[in-house]
Subunit: 295 residues, 2 copies
Amino acid sequence: VADQPLFARVAFIGIGLIGSSMARVMRRDHLAGHIVACARRPETREACLKLGIADQVTADYAEAVRDADLVVIATPISTNETIAKAIAAHLKPGAIITDVGSVKQAVIDAIAPHLPSNVHFVPAHPLAGTEHSGPESGFAELFQGRWCILTPLPNTDATAIEKVSTFWRKAGSKLQTMQAGHHDKVLAITSHLPHLIAYTIVGTADDLAEDLKQEVIQYSASGFRDFTRIAASDPVMWRDIFLNNREATLDVLQRFTEDLTALQRAIRRGDGDALEKLFARTRAIRRSVIDAKQA
Amino acid sequence: VADQPLFARVAFIGIGLIGSSMARVMRRDHLAGHIVACARRPETREACLKLGIADQVTADYAEAVRDADLVVIATPISTNETIAKAIAAHLKPGAIITDVGSVKQAVIDAIAPHLPSNVHFVPAHPLAGTEHSGPESGFAELFQGRWCILTPLPNTDATAIEKVSTFWRKAGSKLQTMQAGHHDKVLAITSHLPHLIAYTIVGTADDLAEDLKQEVIQYSASGFRDFTRIAASDPVMWRDIFLNNREATLDVLQRFTEDLTALQRAIRRGDGDALEKLFARTRAIRRSVIDAKQA
């Protein structure tokens, strides 16, 4: 039938910036017959009804996933194992389970072992976000032109992968499939290390004496400001990312620290040639980013 | 006379992004009767004439400053002492000398001792810029709504300060006066450390194996991208900033490194509470930046 939505019934476990943006895409493109939002906090549930992004709200995992064709887990990573255990016995046979976590191997390890064999797990990571949190901060265009990386297991059902892919294409995303461990390594450099650095530098500024801190804020447009935006991202989400991509993050952090020490030494010794050489090299990377249409 | 421009004759020593943007403001608001651009490279001189931002071009310092009412030194900091020595004997009595350097104490030390006592030196630092270089990259709106920090010496002529201030107000800048050493300390945190960190992280990525590097560029929108923009700033200009604000930069870098080590330890030990606490604290700083209308 032409009017059949992609998923008759969708359950969101957790509905913040990412979940609510996905729900908005489903509303806009009529991809879901019925949307259930599961949230712990009453304010979040009320907001979902008020925003019209869910037909039904609940705090109960079992009630949320009952009869759902698609279950989207969109909570901080540390909750995933508990959620997987709680929903496992209530999933509809043939249901598709997906997630939006920024780390993939740890998420797979937390969720996959608990799911029954008659459902399909398609791990996904949309590379999109803002520094804002909560269902009110979502918008349907969030994923437009952005990458979504799928990290299916070798035995994942092809039809389930295709249905999840269809959703992300409708959301405007470019799709890429990757092995989970490799995803975690790439993201450790492109996303986790930058966030770690930004959190650190903003924390360093926060530790300054109050009057100096006020001046740093006042003149923040000269570089510092860009870091404050990154360092305003959701604290619990990012705590969980670092705890769950520990090895890859510490590995790139180690390389970064070595490079920073070398630069520190060049400054201390007044080695202008070394500085200029590095700065010219990094300028070339910017051109590559622009050429890759990521700027 | 109503039609009298602010400066009858202006000389730019160096005319890249900042100098050419200042010249454009002078053209737009009729603030200069005659503009001379002094540049070492023939292509730069040709560009100035072609862009119409100078009436006259030269490679000769003495010729450039002859009879100038305002001399703007807008070259990388390392050239300042040589320039000061070269122009000193040719300055018009009563001329105003200003600069646009990102470090102020070192610039004062390089320029002030060489100037004759019958001219006025007004050091300035417009907190504005892009990652692009050269006279073609300038635009008159660059300084609109941005801070310009003046660091005059205790004995600087008030009328000269006021004339330079008038120019920056016409350019749309908000003005602030500061002691040079304090300026360097504040900028070490808001600008120099962020650039140092950005250069380092982009350099770390550049050292990756070629295939991984391509993926980092492809997925750079998830945080890394913001650093590549900062790390694309002019290499010679930034080399000189670090060499000339060495103490303040190394001091904040030391604090940053300590904080990063603490964060690294929290990740390695799985100390989620410490991570969440820091990340919540940095989010508050972002709100201060937004409240200060710097976002």
